[in-house]
């Protein structure tokens, strides 16, 4: 059973088309070349589909790194 970070990493790898991509809570757009404002929303919709959650616009605007995303995902997951 994959934990939240591993599932999030799976989404990152799919969106950024990089099977070797390793993320941690501090990973930000500075660390991933292709993570820009254009790919950001694609990432958001893929994360929502993976975890079956819906982010609010304010939550999305507060994401500065993968850790921020993880915190909100865990907050929105039904079992949390």
């Amino acid at each position: 059973m994959l934990n939240t970070l591993e599932r999030l990493q799976k989404v990152f790898r799919r969106v950024f088309d990089n099977d070797k991509l390793v993320i941690n809570p501090k990973t930000s757009a500075k660390d991933i070349n292709m993570w820009d404002s254009i790919s950001h929303m694609e990432l958001i919709s893929e994360v929502e589909a993976e975890f079956k959650i819906v982010f609010s616009f304010d939550q999305v605007m507060e994401f500065n790194n993968a850790g921020d995303m993880l915190t909100v995902i865990e907050l929105l997951l039904p079992n949390s």
Binding site: F16, D17, N33, M34, D36, S37, I38, S39, M41, E42, I44, S45, F57, D58, V60, M61
Partner: protein, 471 residues
Amino acid sequence: MTFISPLFFLFISLVISINYFLPHRFRYVFILISSILFVGFYNIESLAAVILFSFFNYVLAKYIRNNKWLYLLGIIVNSAAIVMFNYFSTSSNGLIFSFTLINFQIDKFILALGLSFYSLQNIAYITEVYYNRLQPESTICKYFLYNMFFPKFISGPIILPGEFIPQIENNIITNDKLIRGFQLLLLGIFKKMVIADRIAPGVSSVFDYHSNYSGLTVLTASYLFTIQLYFDFSGYTNMALGISEMLGYNLKDNFNFPLRSSSVSEFWRRWHISLISWFTNYIYYPVVFRLRYYKKGAPLVGIFLTFFISMIWHGIGLTFLAWAVCHTVYLGFESLTRKSRAVLSDRFNNPFYKIVCVFIVFNLVCFSNVFFRSDSFETAIHLIKNIFSGFIPDSFLTGLINPIAVGGHQTDEFNIFITILLLSVFLIFERRIYKAALSEKINLKYIVLCVLLIMIFGVFNSGTRFIYMQF
């Protein structure tokens, strides 16, 4: 009183000195009064416009929280101001009304200087308050200062209220800030007077008399215009940042070496950063977030809408529409080919590949800027067609150098070579020069070199305005 007039230098010397010696609690009132004088000096209509719009948004913000209709009213009023500013600036049929006691011109009021810059700030302010991300400002003078702060009043940088207003309370002027501010101011003067204003006549001669030139001459002029635009606007920004720093305020930089970008999306992350952040936060993200389930379609719609609104902001007309379409196509292409370009980048991970990318991006930007600079769509098309006819001039001296040098005398030719030399040296050592300007210790070598180059090669009598003053 432009940023490079003697009167302005006298003005900032007095304001910076008096502000430095004033007790902290009086400083912001003093800077507000100085800003009112600065704006009023241009024309009384600009002052009336900024006071009226600031007051409107200040009062509106008090009642706007969770009130959709008031928020809509605020957006409509501020957007209408931007549209009218651009409509009247492109229309020759400005309205002029004279009153008996005061000669108040409605067209100048609508064309009020800086209107579209502080209108964007006002939209940001009411949006942040409406969505509960910011408390409405309680002191009207502080809100007026946010809108009228004279270093950023004419052409930005656009700053969000949450980034500026707290600095009024925490305003501290240290020797480091004075030194860095002065060095940045010198850098801005150098960029404007030594590079941008020396290039300007050559660019004008080709763009204004476009039917006389073709091939390499037009291509060179279009390259030079993009360089002129960069040095003019980033020079203004450096001056604005430098003056602000000496007054104890930090503004965000608008440029991050954009001419070194290896993709158009990277270019837009490095060029006019404060405007692009505004468009990204208040147009692009809200639109794309709502459309995100449409996958690839969402960013394309977002890019088009962003550039369409950016076009309205820059000016309503076919030339700006063509400029916006160019960048929508560039960014749309980059969005659709993101993965294949990443593969290419990994395969050819070497400096040569990077240089080729930078060169392609520079050419794409220059191509769109032909529309940006031309006075009509027909002129732009004519210039672009001319690039591909008679590419190599019969005589390099009369066909290429003389039009760019403007004049045809030996001194003019010498001058253009000096300009190209200074420009090349600056671009090669740009990062080091910028680092020297930002140093917190007095860098005497840098200061002496800047002053000498400005005194020897600066254009003192051009009377040219900064290009972005028109937006």
